[in-house]
Symmetry: C2
Subunit: 282 residues, 2 copies
């Protein structure tokens, strides 16, 4: 059986044995592949880059959903940009929100994930609170008129279709879609190999939001140590909430997580020296 | 030019391009290789497993040295077990300690590292406070009569010569070598792929120390998200020192770090749900 070798970097790669190939196709937008690996469960790749695996997706989805939703405290309306595999939706749906709007550009990713990665959405695509929109995320935030308490930008890397979701125009549009007290979080790459994403995103977010920073989590198959999530809000008090408040909210929410907990919530905002330096463009 | 492919796991691997091979030899103890990679700088492998790279060694060495030394507050005598590449010694030597004893089993690792990884030790092998002992680490802690404020077990994985450094007998001997208020830290693998190491080590440490836990840091080329460091001490107050105390000590020590800072010190002790579960053997 063949191997999958990631093409993200030039001199280093991660390599997964393809124990069973479920699907391989060039969609209108991207080259999609889903296979089984003995160590990682089912793996989805787009254009040669690992998007998600059954074994470690919980780290990414839990940290990207629960940190902003718990920090907000009383989210009612949530917007997910991207996230076609359904894992983000599953975690958001654990919260007592009124509506979840998900905007995914590629209908094929949703369909393939429902078929081949059913544990990602775990039935959440049938949630009556969900409005699923197949559309360009950039156009959606530019043209939409509603407001959201939390916007989660669960994008690919800033290569190909995901690139506009890292643009300053996108962040400016997203800000206009936030309700008062709202927060935007974004997938922002692995700073060990992609420090420029930290520098660029921080500069762009800081022009539009009173509090623009990052928080971190190590997702094993996003190679290179931990990844950063962009954190942007005018509600400057949300980042530094007292641990006792976070603990109380986490207990009441009964989120049933494998990575996230109240300790990890606070700890994730601690930034290593080299990330602080990258934020300043050093 | 050939590639290096790590043999640690069966179904997943990391692969580095060998841009220049500096050294390859079977020593008395291990198969040692040192090469250059465009993304990682110089890389040292032992028996097919990545030991250290110039690009990311700072995460590992800073977190393993500064967390116990800063938490201790006034360390005078430090024992390093292993650490032949010299990176741990370099970080320990940044502190105003009286003596540093390093016990490395393999003289060839020290010599090769001095020649091919000079940035790791950065001259610290000439530090007049250092006593370098080429000996088996297990035998050393069993037979030694001195006491240390901090013991750093910078071992390989629990395969081959490093295995005894994960044994309960070793931990018991290490405890007898601690001065009052002392702390032992250990390299304890990547829990995403090696959760049994968390379960086993926690059980063994908890039998001998009043406080036995782990702290975490993601080292990019220790594949699989973050790694855990064992933390074992009878000085139960050391783990939860007030952030202001840590900040003050870190500022005064002027450690000039790229990863470690006062925020990362405290945050590293936050443990994800699945690590907590592994600690309980679940």
């Amino acid at each position: 059986m063949a191997d999958f070798e990631e093409t993200l970097y030039d001199a280093v790669a991660q390599k997964f044995r393809i124990d069973k190939l479920y699907f391989e196709n060039k969609t209108d937008h991207q080259h999609l592949m889903i296979f089984h690996n003995a160590a990682l469960g089912r793996v989805m790749t787009l254009d040669g880059i690992v998007q998600t695996t059954e074994a470690d997706e919980f780290v990414y989805h839990e940290m990207m959903a629960h940190v902003p939703l718990v920090a907000h405290g009383a989210p009612q309306h949530v917007l997910i940009i991207g996230g076609g595999d359904g894992g983000m939706l599953r975690e958001v749906a654990k919260h007592a929100v009124e509506s979840i709007t998900q905007v995914e550009i590629d209908a094929a990713v949703v369909e393939m994930a429902k078929t081949y990665l059913p544990n990602h959405s775990a039935g959440a695509y049938d949630d009556p609170r969900l409005q699923l929109v197949i559309d360009d995320g950039f156009a959606f935030v530019r043209d939409d008129t509603r407001h959201y308490d939390v916007i989660i930008v669960d994008s690919t890397d800033p290569i190909g279709p995901g690139e506009v979701l890292f643009s300053e125009d996108f962040y400016a549009h997203a800000k206009t879609r936030l309700a008062p007290g709202g927060v935007v979080v974004t997938q922002n790459g692995v700073p060990f190999f992609q420090p420029d994403e930290v520098t660029t995103t921080h500069r762009r977010l800081a022009r539009h939001f009173a509090d623009a920073t990052f928080y971190c989590a190590p997702v094993p198959t996003y190679y290179g140590g931990f990844m950063t999530f962009g954190w942007a809000t005018d509600a400057t008090e949300l980042r530094g909430l007292a641990p006792a408040i976070i603990r109380d909210r986490v207990e009441r929410a009964e989120l049933n997580t494998r990575y996230y907990n109240a300790d990890m919530h606070g700890a994730a905002f601690a930034l290593p020296q080299y990330v602080r330096a990258a934020m300043q463009g050093e």
